[in-house]
């Protein structure tokens, strides 16, 4: 590890020790012993900062709580992990969780009616309103991950034995949300280009109607899927769902937070997004947005009454189980939100970088792109069976030769050992990083005598 990065963490940790002194002190000030402890910690901090500045010193802290490594992948290297890219925290979010990490940190000024989305200090209510508006929906709630959004909707709409239309590329959490509600998934087939079309969706609905005598209870489709990150005919699918009067859930796990999403344009009755996947937030977090029409159902408040005490908790929403993200998760979402809103406006640039890298990868003879191409997304499934895997076949480290090469150049996040079909994500890399990444790939190819087409 770079000593300067190491010392950056050590300085952060020393400051947390200093916070600890303040936390256990009296409001009247530090005791003589506490002042002495503080002075010692500040001395230690100054020496760490001196090492940070000079690039000197040796690691003094290598574990957190005795067992956890310091995670420095994002500082040390370029991380192309398929699902981590857009969930990396912004600098503001990192500051927010420093300040708001404690358990119920969002609840300092919780007042009647005692519900998370009504809290005005910090501006949680305003954030909820902004979130709904930004997605062009009427209501938004934060949730512990996109999957909990699927669950809230399936549990609202799906009765035992009902069918739910999903894509043949549906994420497993959609399967589970349907199963959890007692429903059955029916998958829309892909066309030759691995795209879910509106026509195929209509046909699947007809098929379900024919076979079960009943329309599906829900259509739930990913705008971009998790396998290829291909763009599916989401607007057309929304229209089809509405023609059959079936509610439509827009799964924006791979869009909300990285590209502009207009829920109403897509005909979405529900928009679900993921905080830790695409909104630069601490896991588990996400958003469920809905319309005036569906809010009274999916966001219905409790009607349960205690048989004995006659207690009622009227304002609490049944599918959310009341409050959802009461601390650092939510505050990280709020702190990242200005940056997240802004970055969605530059999605075209992210796609350009994605294509720049893929074009370079394709110069390595035998490499293929399994996702649609040119890319419309930064997540891509590639097939290097005809290139890097040919090296792996005879290399003593097998597929790990490739991970070794990447990590020696500071690239992390590939699936270790995989040299056939695998996924990567260039989201959020600077142009310099994408160029470097491209050069590393072609460089590895050249080193191992794989033919590389000239530019």
């Amino acid at each position: 590890m770079s000593i300067r990065i190491q010392k950056t963490f050590e300085a952060l940790f020393a400051l947390e020790e200093i916070r600890g002194i303040f936390r256990s002190s009296l409001p009247t000030g530090l005791t003589v012993e506490e002042e002495a402890a503080l002075a010692r910690q500040i001395d230690a901090l100054k020496s760490i900062v001196a090492d940070l500045e000079a690039g000197t010193g040796v690691p003094k802290v290598t574990k957190i709580a005795g067992t956890l490594d310091i995670r420095t992948r994002e500082e040390e290297g370029i991380n192309i992990h398929p699902i981590q890219a857009a969930g990396r925290l912004t600098t503001e979010a990192r500051k927010a969780i420093i300040a708001y990490g404690d358990g119920y940190s969002s609840c300092d000024f919780c007042r009647k009616p005692f519900r998370l989305d009504k809290i005005t200090r910090p501006g949680i209510a305003e954030f909820h309103a902004d979130l709904a508006k930004w997605l062009n929906m009427d209501h938004a709630r934060v949730i512990p991950g996109a999957r909990r959004g699927f669950q809230a909707v399936t549990n609202t709409l799906v009765e035992k034995g009902d069918t739910v239309i999903v894509s043949a590329l549906a994420h497993y959490t959609e399967f589970l949300a349907v199963e959890n509600a007692g429903g059955i998934v029916k998958e829309v087939p892909l066309n030759a280009g691995n795209i879910v079309t509106a026509d195929a969706t209509a046909q699947k609905i007809e098929e379900v109607k024919r076979e079960t005598g009943k329309l599906p209870a829900l259509v739930m489709i990913d705008h971009y899927d998790y396998q290829f990150a291909n763009e599916h005919e989401i607007g057309g699918i929304g229209k089809v769902a509405h023609q059959y009067d079936i509610p439509f859930l827009y799964n924006g796990a791979y869009t909300v937070g990285i590209q502009p999403v207009d829920g109403k344009k897509f005909g979405a009755d529900f928009v679900v997004g993921s905080g830790h996947k695409s909104m630069a937030s601490v896991a588990p977090s996400g958003v469920l947005a809905t319309t005036e029409e569906w809010a009274p159902k999916a966001l219905r408040t409790t009607s349960m009454v205690g048989d004995l005490t006659k207690r009622k908790f009227g304002i609490k929403e049944v599918e959310l189980l009341g409050c959802t993200l009461m601390g650092g998760t939510l505050l990280s979402m709020i702190a990242s939100f200005p940056t997240v809103k802004e970055r969605t406006l530059h999605w075209d640039e992210e796609v350009k970088k994605s294509n720049f890298f893929i074009d370079n990868l394709l110069r390595i003879t035998g490499s293929r792109v399994l996702s649609e191409y040119p890319r419309k997304h930064t997540l891509t499934k590639v097939d290097t069976t005809g290139s890097f895997d040919t090296v792996a076949k005879t290399h003593k480290r097998r597929g790990f030769f490739f991970s070794d090469e990447l990590s020696s150049k500071g690239i992390v996040g590939e699936f270790a050992g995989a040299t056939r079909t695998w996924k990567l994500n260039t989201y959020g890399l600077t142009w310099e990083q994408v160029k470097y990444l491209s050069d590393v790939f072609t460089g590895i190819a050249e080193k191992h005598e794989l033919p590389v087409e000239s530019k």
Copy 2:
């Protein structure tokens, strides 16, 4: 705000800016411009640290992301908030979220079979095993809050129209979890001391059986309730449930993480705990533990098969919707765990401090304790109608006079404006802090000429 605390945060934030420089750089090192930016940030940091040391300077950063105040309640004051006390992060947890705040930070080394609780680097699998053992249960899973544990269990066990036995002091999330599953709550009455007894639970079961012709599907009782934090006859209740062969959920939101919990001793089929309430963890987090008998049901894996693709996601657990806490939330739990385990062994000392404070409060004539007394818990409901509220009646600030007095002495977390019945929690305060807290209360009484009995 104390300038030293302000400067501690500014130093932390400056270091996050420094991390930002490393994050956007190339693995080959910083450019000339990046080196210059780093040098500027280190200069700024050094000047902040100098101010921190000297206690000089003025606040330079007052907002995060332009809108969020820096939260310094835990550093500035003594926080007696009823639900925040035991969710405050440990120093190690604060370090962990600095290192592991990014979205899917737990997933760097996720390998087959691709499930959170199987990850060995960081030691998530080991943590799960430790957690189960520590609660004396067979299996444990992390969950986004205790409520999601209730939900997993009710959704597993409760069919539409089934009844679930809860306490007359049940938390609203238990109501919602039952409602969410289509069930109906039936409340066990309290005895004269506001305690749920085993006998009353048996009677309620009999009543349900008589009225519905069917046994309840579940008994779900809080060891200590959220209103009074009275201790209920949890062991006896577990026995009663088993006599009727009804599964028993032990709600440990107010025990798991602060006092030793032996699930099997209590006859628990399920133990649910809260990370952000009692395990010094980032919200939303928690634990659901169960037995060999119930794991195949509550932790059942998916059996859904794609009709078209024949896809199966066999290892994923339906009620958890697969992975649950994929980043900072879980890592904060893991980092706090050694401290949390240790602190449960000193619960008796926490109870002593609680009683010390309450005894002092009771010296203020007219003050009462609504919780059982002597206290067996650190959360207490008090009634100051006969003391502080008599001042509020004629004070121009009404009940806020009391908040003003408390905050002027560095006490926060009371319910602002409340001078009749309200709750507070002394968990985690040092003896010096508890003594100070007690003196502040009697001091306010004396200032406003309320009679205070001598010790």
